[in-house]
């Protein structure tokens, strides 16, 4: 019984803390769920850095309509249950206006419905899987889907190399490489480019000579590769070792400067499409790269750039929203304002496009953005100047 009297006191303390939180209502609380530990941490950390940089920049310029942006960052470890837990914490406990993240598409499939059900905007910056925006009208993303990038990549490479037939290799046990392959397959059918052979491997393989020997025998003009960077480097090196001279065409997994450092000259002439370019001379991108290098002393990547832009997109929408202090109404107002938001950011001009869902029900909003096409020259990404 001696414990009981202390209980009301702690309740008073809690309510005092809650009141203190209300007192700073001028802050706009925005949740960020990113995989800061675990296998996807390499993306998650870059994403957090991108958001932090954008928030600092916006706040230094006086915030949005005088309100400062306050980021609440949580680690979701790239796991689906953690993704749900973090989303619930951000939405129901921290009472954020909207949530960014999670890092992986798998986590989004699990956590997205939570946010959509709570009528809170969820904004993915790195989730490319198809079907994400089918979750509901509160789901947004500025991650450009493979189905928008690959047609351009393949068409550009076909024109440049005058391709007549191609071989395909992909990892068939990974969500990312498999969905990339599905898109490639459709693109090749649409563009009527014959496939000589389709080879597969599984995650963790290091020897691709059997598949590459088969590819060599069919004599393709290019090799299309839906692979992650880890495997891609070995595939390129072993292909050159076997005497395959055809250039490579890659998906989003090739967007890694490391890949071409490792594969050295084996990757020469590779065509890659990306939503972001390190060397894009647009002033918004130059400013972003400079600020990122200054703050983190490291080169930014695509994930940081997309996160950076995402917060600016949200800020652009928030400019048009009059915050009432009623959370549910504000969340709804943001959801209605966001589709109209446009920016000219680090990844170029950006706007939303209503998603076409499989069920025909109203879905969320996808990115409407033009990809950059690179060709690898001297082990470096070089913007492709098409003629």
């Amino acid at each position: 019984m001696r414990f009981l009297p202390s209980l009301p006191k702690s309740l008073v303390l809690v309510s005092a803390l809650a009141a203190a939180g209300l007192a700073q209502a001028a802050d706009i609380k925005i949740g960020v769920a990113a995989a800061l530990t675990g296998g996807a941490a390499q993306y998650g950390v870059a994403i957090r850095n991108g958001f932090q940089l954008a928030a600092d920049e916006i706040n230094a310029q006086g915030g949005v309509n005088g309100n400062k942006i306050q980021l609440v960052v949580e680690d979701e470890q790239g796991k689906k249950e953690e993704g749900i837990n973090v989303f619930k914490k951000l939405i129901f406990q921290d009472k954020v206006l909207m949530v960014f993240g999670p890092t992986l598409s798998n986590s989004m499939f699990a956590a997205g419905p939570v946010a959509n059900g709570a009528k809170t905007v969820v904004f993915g910056t790195s989730v490319t899987a198809s079907g994400i925006t089918d979750i509901g009208p509160y789901v947004f993303r500025n991650s450009v889907m493979e189905s928008d990038v690959l047609p351009v990549t393949v068409a550009t490479a076909t024109k440049h190399y005058k391709l007549k037939q191609v071989a395909v290799i992909y990892g068939n046990d990974d969500a990312f490489t498999k969905s990339g392959y599905d898109v490639f397959k459709k693109v090749l059918e649409d563009q009527k480019l014959p496939v000589t052979t389709t080879e597969t491997y599984v995650k963790g393989d290091v020897d691709f000579k059997a598949q590459l020997t088969k590819i060599k025998a069919t004599n393709p003009d290019a090799v299309i590769c839906s692979c992650l960077a880890e495997e891609a480097a070995n595939i390129m090196l072993q292909a050159r070792g076997l005497g395959i001279k055809a250039p490579f065409i890659g998906g989003n997994g090739f967007n890694s400067p490391k890949l071409f450092e490792i594969s050295k000259l084996a990757g020469e002439g590779t065509f890659v499409g990306s939503p972001w370019s390190n060397t894009n001379p647009a002033p918004a991108n130059k400013a972003f790269v400079a600020a990122y290098v200054k703050k983190y002393n490291a080169e930014p990547n695509q994930f940081a750039a997309q996160a950076f832009d995402a917060l600016h997109v949200a800020a652009a929408a928030l400019h048009e929203v009059k915050l009432s202090g009623d959370l549910a109404a504000d969340r709804e107002a943001l959801k209605n304002a966001l589709p109209k938001a446009t920016i000219n950011g680090a990844t170029g001009p950006f706007k939303f496009r209503a998603a076409v869902t499989k069920t025909g029900k109203p879905g969320g909003w996808d990115a409407d953005q033009k990809p950059f096409i690179y060709v690898v020259k001297g082990g470096k990404f070089t913007a492709f100047e098409g003629k």
């Binding site: 949580e74 619930k88 979750i135």
Partner: protein, 287 residues
Amino acid sequence: MEWFNDFWSTYSTLVFSVGVHALLALSIWLTLSCGLLSLANAAFMGIGAYVAALLTVNLDWSFGTVLLAGGIAPALVALIIGAPVLRLSGVYLAMATLAFGEVVRITVLNLEITGGPEGLNGIPLATEGWHIALILAITVYGLARLRRSKVGRAFEAIKEDEVAARLMGINVDRYKLLAFSLGAFIAGVAGALNAHFTFFISPREYGFENAVDILTMAVLGGTSSLIGPMLGSSILTLLPELLRSLQDFRSLVNGAVLVLVVLFLPKGLWESRRIKAFFKRLKGGQA
């Protein structure tokens, strides 16, 4: 009541996970109690999850029948593979069941209906708190009764000495198969419950890592009683959430706690004999 609503809307998934993990830990406890080191429970969970999710999404069955199907499917698989696999013992059984897990994973990866490596999304939310609580209660009650029954004694005898048990007239093969299939049933139901509150399942959730996680839960808690596995699974589920405020050091502290427990309490956290001795000493001190 408002604080409860707040708490529940934030942490309901976590509470659900605690319940589901408790079921999984109990499923492996059952096979361990018969002396079988089987690592197939993650695969059985996966079979249950996929069967249940596919039935809900494609055929729109009622949740009760879906859960039952999610338990029966892996139990049937366990009956079929059990006959040859259970002739092995010790680490050889562990290896064979791990290999079985890989077979299940790769099958799911290559099937069209399961969505392959991209997984199955858009599973409707059907699991509610009382479903898990009820199933967990039935499981705990059933297992507690089982322990004190003829079957439970037979499991115990097989665990202590298989040859002696056989000599006493216990049909060792049949009891092993029973433990294996019952474990598969519980794991399958756990998988079905899990699939219906996480909206999404993919083959990578039922691989080697999860098989080891399930075993860790049971071993951390201690396998000498039913409380051990439930304690172990609760701690392993809650600890990462409780340590959230440590941010970057979270995984480090989480790991350190586990190492310390294994170092100082090698028989698990809940060892009935040690806990009884502790209370006896406490009483002795007061007298």
